[in-house]
């Protein structure tokens, strides 16, 4: 089945957040700080205020006090992170470079942008810290781990602590990934419209309409139902829509002050500084093994970067704890708080960072042992979760290994590095494994049969590109026995049935069952209606009623036949809303999706250029609802992994605390020429425990493990082990 919104997207009919035009709209442009730490000693807005078309210049000196602002650290409702999202225009403190210090509102975007340049700030500068390496000694245990020793970011051990140190055969290596920035093609933008003094509508780029609604309702002290968030189309996000950001607050404040709808669009440069990134992370792995290739111990430590005002944590060490059968396991996760904006999950998030270290170390150990890296992984394969002792809900990783090895031509690989060449190009093969929790949550969905026989489904969930709308349409069509053309799935509006934020590979797992259950409830209702109007149906057993092609029919009774359309006419078409909750039943299982990526690379021996010539990505993600959109996700995730491995790094000049790679010419997202044909293989076996659909999720495992597969292939090609990403030509010559 094709994407339900494919035509809108390719014809330009799809409306993205910056494309809503409202009557009497004004435009806002942010002014950013030019220091990383200190205080604003003065801010001169006079020239900007006098500039043509300017409606307001808002700073901490005249910004409204918001009712929802509680003292920092005293807000118990803040989830996930400790601290509080940056509040704009409330004080004179500078916490990072390009922090919004003013917003200029004018009657046109051009005039706002011009006036923004006229705002002049003076600072009382303080010494800033933007260098992770220098701040490693100050790294600390996250507060949530201090409060809860069972937190996933708390120190973990099984068996002996740091047992690898006494191992006969041991490896110790450090790995670094730089800051990476999401950079979806659509930049962050928002239009804020106060439809009444206490009613706010936001056309916003977000991954969660409900979360955005909650955050800004709270900030303004409004009931949640007074805030509406619309995000019908999202032009990629990769995680940077998982948090509420300063520019959103600024647009809402601006709209309040000028009492007009206000549109605010970030520039590409601002996309580096204030809407999150994958944090620069240092890792160290110690590993020991027996000569026959059994891992005896792993110690995995990580220090991730966060801001000074929020503790951002991610599951960097999660894969290490459960992927291989290591009887002795120690993990330690720490944070270093720097004078930079807060990070946020970026596709694959911490698991992808962690997998780079773990899967590189696995490769290094295989070479130490002189064992094929695939064979080494098989010798340490786990049939149950070593972290908690539970059986897997399903695991077909071996099938993935086999399928991938065949497709990449693993048998052509030589264990000795530098053995395969073609002219000046060295050829190497590598693999990397990925895993991510098959998370499932609570979600609602509404189903309604319309008079023309179309089924209308609604959910507040967003579709950030993976094809959520398409998958849900397909689930509904399959459940109802109608063609997809007879299903209309509407999404991306916080007024629709409650759904979680799009992220963590959990949407098909969570919203899918809600759609399915809503459709089943609708069928029950149709059955009731048919029974009320038709004696044959009234007398029939439930299981004898068949739903197919828009009709209800009865087994063994050729004349009993009612169209859905007639039933709607009969009953006036009320909606059915269903809440789907994950069943308790699966709790005795450990639930994960798995992937393995195989890469073939070519490395030029004189110039150090790396070309990924082939990638095979294999996934055990349970039932695949739609092979096309799922395949697409896998390919996109693989290309993201190429960027992580070879090209992407956001670099800061620590003297100034400012980024020096801050456009798409200098920050290298892979282009088409960097992406080979990616071959995708799905095991496509339903998971019996996660949910009734059998799905497990693919968004993250598409990226997790790709970067180490490429790094390992580069080692196989050249004999050079590069432990700091990205692997640019200078590191290989």
């Amino acid at each position: 089945m094709n994407r339900v919104d494919g035509r809108q997207k390719v014809t330009g009919a799809a409306k993205y957040s910056a494309e809503y035009q409202l009557p009497n709209m004004a435009y806002a442009v942010l002014v950013g700080s030019t220091i990383a730490k200190g205080r604003l000693s003065s801010i001169d807005t006079k020239a900007a205020e006098r500039a043509p078309g300017v409606l307001a210049v808002i700073t901490h000196q005249n910004g409204p006090k918001l009712p929802g602002h509680k003292p920092v650290g005293k807000d118990p409702s803040q989830p996930q992170t400790v601290g509080s999202a940056l509040r704009v225009f409330t004080d004179d403190k500078i916490r990072f470079n390009d922090q919004p210090i003013a917003v200029v509102v004018a009657d046109s975007w051009e005039r706002a942008r011009y006036a923004a340049r006229l705002v002049k700030a003076q600072y009382a500068q303080e010494a800033h810290q933007t260098n992770l390496e220098a701040n490693k000694p100050n790294a600390f245990l996250p507060t949530q781990a201090k409060k809860n020793p069972k937190s996933p970011v708390a120190d973990y051990q099984r068996g002996q602590v740091d047992a690898y140190k006494t191992g006969a055969l041991k490896l110790e290596a450090e790995y670094v990934i730089p800051t990476e920035v999401h950079h979806p093609i659509e930049m962050q933008s928002i239009t804020a419209h106060w439809e009444a003094p206490d009613r706010l509508t936001l056309y916003d780029k977000t991954q969660g309409t409900m979360a955005t609604r909650r955050d800004f309702a709270r900030e303004w002290g409004l009931p949640e139902e007074n805030v509406k968030v619309i995000a019908t189309y999202v032009g990629g996000a990769f995680g940077n829509g998982l948090h509420s950001w300063p520019h959103e607050s600024a647009a809402i404040v601006a709209a309040k002050v000028v009492n007009r709808p206000v549109k605010l669009m970030l520039t590409r440069e601002q996309m580096f500084t204030m809407v999150g990134y994958r944090p620069h992370t240092w890792q160290k792995i110690g590993m020991s093994a027996t000569p026959d290739g059994k891992i005896t111990a792993i110690t995995h430590e990580a220090i991730g970067q966060t801001s000074t005002y929020e503790e951002f944590t991610e599951a960097t060490l999660g894969q290490t704890r459960m992927m291989y059968q290591a009887p002795n396991m120690t993990t330690r996760y720490r944070l270093a708080a720097l004078d930079i904006g807060s990070p946020i999950w970026m596709r694959g998030p911490g698991e992808a960072t962690g997998a780079f270290a773990l899967e590189s170390a696995m490769d290094e150990m295989a070479y130490l042992l002189n064992i094929d890296p695939l064979e080494f992984r098989l010798r340490n394969y786990t049939d149950k979760d070593p972290e908690n002792g539970k059986p897997w809900s399903s695991k077909f990783l071996k099938e993935c290994y086999q399928a991938g090895a065949e497709r990449i031509g693993w048998n052509k690989r030589q264990l000795k590095p530098g053995s395969v060449r073609e002219g000046d190009w060295l050829i190497g093969y590598g693999m990397g494994v990925g895993t991510f929790g098959a998370h499932r949550g609570t979600s609602k969905a509404t189903a309604k049969l319309l008079p023309d026989g179309t089924v209308l489904l609604q959910s507040a969930v967003t579709d950030i590109g993976p094809g959520t709308g398409t998958a849900m349409t397909q689930i509904a069509a399959d459940t109802l026995g109608v063609t997809p053309a007879k299903v209309r799935f509407e999404w991306g509006n916080s007024d629709f049935a409650r759904a979680p934020t799009q992220g963590g590979s959990a949407i098909v797992n969570t919203v899918g069952p809600a759609v399915q259950e809503a459709c089943l409830a609708l069928k029950d209702k149709l059955r009731e209606l048919a029974a009320a109007g038709n004696g044959a149906f009234a007398a029939a057993r439930k299981e004898d009623v068949t739903f197919a092609d828009g009709y209800l029919t009865l087994a063994g009774n050729a004349t009993a036949r009612v169209t859905y359309t007639d039933l709607v006419k009969q009953a006036g078409g009320q909606a059915v809303t269903v809440e789907s909750k994950p069943s308790d039943k699966g709790r005795e299982y450990s639930m994960y999706s798995f992937s393995v990526h195989f890469a073939q690379v070519r490395v030029h021996q004189l110039t150090g250029e790396v070309r990924v010539s082939k990638l095979v990505s294999c996934a055990d993600a349970g039932t695949i609802i739609n092979e096309k959109t799922a395949g697409n996700q896998m390919k996109g995730g693989a290309v993201g992994g190429i960027g992580m491995a070879l090209t992407e790094a956001a670099v800061i000049d620590d003297r100034f605390g400012r980024y020096v790679t801050k456009d798409l010419a200098e920050y290298h997202v892979p282009v088409h020429a960097d992406a080979p044909a990616v071959e995708v293989y799905f095991v496509n076996q339903p998971d019996p425990h996660v949910n009734a659909l059998g799905t497990k999720g693919i968004g993250e495992i598409a990226t997790i493990g790709v970067a180490p597969a490429i790094a390992n292939a580069i080692f196989n090609a050249t004999g050079k082990r590069i432990r700091e990403l990205p692997i640019t030509p200078d590191k290989l010559i």
């Binding site: 030019t34 470079n97 051009e110 942008r113 011009y114 340049r117 440069e269 000046d424 030029h604 004189l606 110039t607 150090g608 250029e609 070309r611 070879l646 090209t647 670099v651 000049d653 003297r655 100034f656 400012r658 020096v660 790679t661 801050k662 456009d663 010419a665 200098e666 290298h668 892979p670 282009v671 088409h672 020429a673 960097d674 990205p726 640019t728 030509p729 200078d730 010559i733």
Partner: protein, 326 residues
């Protein structure tokens, strides 16, 4: 972006006069660099004189040379039959630059005059002598991974980002200029300056001068040529190092050679001494390595670009190998 006036010139003379009248005016053609610089507040011309309508986009064969109008688009030049046949090195260099979209907007004259991509030049909150003389060089002790190894000064270590210009430097092009004082011809090697004490001045063009065309003399480098651009992704990235190599072979003996590098200096870096070592020698890896060694004499690296001392000669060898094999 500041407010500015916009006028469109229909004749070269009118354009030159308009520019000469107004010291705060700038020509604009494709705008692929200037508009970015204006948006970022790096440049703030008060008047833009649009020269796109001037009749300067012809590519033609002339006595002893090929003449390419200054307003010919990069994409059009790269696909031009005459250029492909007679100046394949130039076509390769053009295709290595930017993206298809940019090549379809950018002009030959504008390409030569594009400004450095040094991040300190682009960020008005950091020091840069090129943008704001006297503020210091941010790159000197900063993030200088992309920076010069030849011809720099303690005022500026930026590099010229053009690919096309590297090929034109190798091929002994001449730049044709019209100005308030009449027409003149500038050998390509003399168009771009080294930074010295005045890094804010990129070229030797005089006030009010307009580039009208570039001429490339007839040459025998129609087959054994290669433009090698080493970069961090396969397309749409500025060169870490690039090499324009052209050989004329007699059997396996090198009769004549042209060699220039990009990404290493404030201007396209012609390697005349290395060319001399190639002539008369067999086209072997050994010869190429010797030339590369000569080429790199005098190179000096900074904290983050030491790799260029190795990548440079390696790239020269590879470009010459590819040229010989073409």
């Amino acid at each position: 972006m500041n407010q500015f006036q916009y006028v469109r010139a229909s004749k070269p003379k009118a354009a030159i006069e308009a520019l000469a009248r107004d010291p705060n005016a700038q020509f604009i053609a494709g705008g692929t660099n200037l508009l970015d610089l204006m948006k970022r507040g790096v440049m703030a011309p008060q008047k833009l004189i649009d020269i796109n309508k001037l009749p300067l986009d012809k590519i033609e064969r002339q006595e002893g040379n090929i003449r390419i109008g200054a307003l010919a688009l990069n994409g059009a030049v790269a696909e031009d039959k005459l250029v492909l046949e007679k100046l394949p090195l130039l076509a390769q260099a053009l295709n290595a630059g930017a993206s298809a979209q940019l090549r379809n907007m950018a002009t030959v004259g504008g390409n030569m005059l594009q400004r450095t991509r040094c991040p300190y030049f682009y960020d008005t909150a950091m020091p840069c002598n090129k943008r704001e003389p006297g503020t210091g060089c941010g790159a000197l002790e900063g993030y200088n991974r992309m920076h010069a190894i030849f011809g720099f000064s303690d005022k500026c270590i930026a590099v010229h980002p053009s690919d096309m210009s590297v090929a034109l430097a190798a091929l002994d092009a001449t730049v044709l200029v019209s100005g308030p004082k009449g027409d003149r011809r500038i050998p390509f090697a003399e168009l771009h300056r080294l930074p010295g004490d005045q890094p804010h001045i990129d070229t030797t063009l005089g006030a009010g001068e307009l580039i009208t065309a570039v001429e490339v003399p007839d040459n025998a480098f129609t087959r054994h040529v290669h433009y090698l651009k080493v970069r961090e992704r396969a397309s749409y990235a500025f060169a870490l190092v690039s090499v324009a190599a052209a050989l004329q072979l007699d059997g396996s003996t090198i009769k004549d050679a042209r060699l220039a590098m990009g990404g290493v200096a404030h201007k396209p870096w012609r390697l005349a001494d290395a060319e001399k070592t190639l002539v008369g020698k067999p086209a072997t890896d050994e010869t190429f390595r010797q030339a590369a060694e000569v080429a790199m004499r005098g190179a000096k690296a900074f904290q983050h670009n030491a790799y260029k001392l190795k990548l440079g000669p390696n790239s020269i060898v590879q470009a010459l190998k590819n040229a010989a094999a073409a």
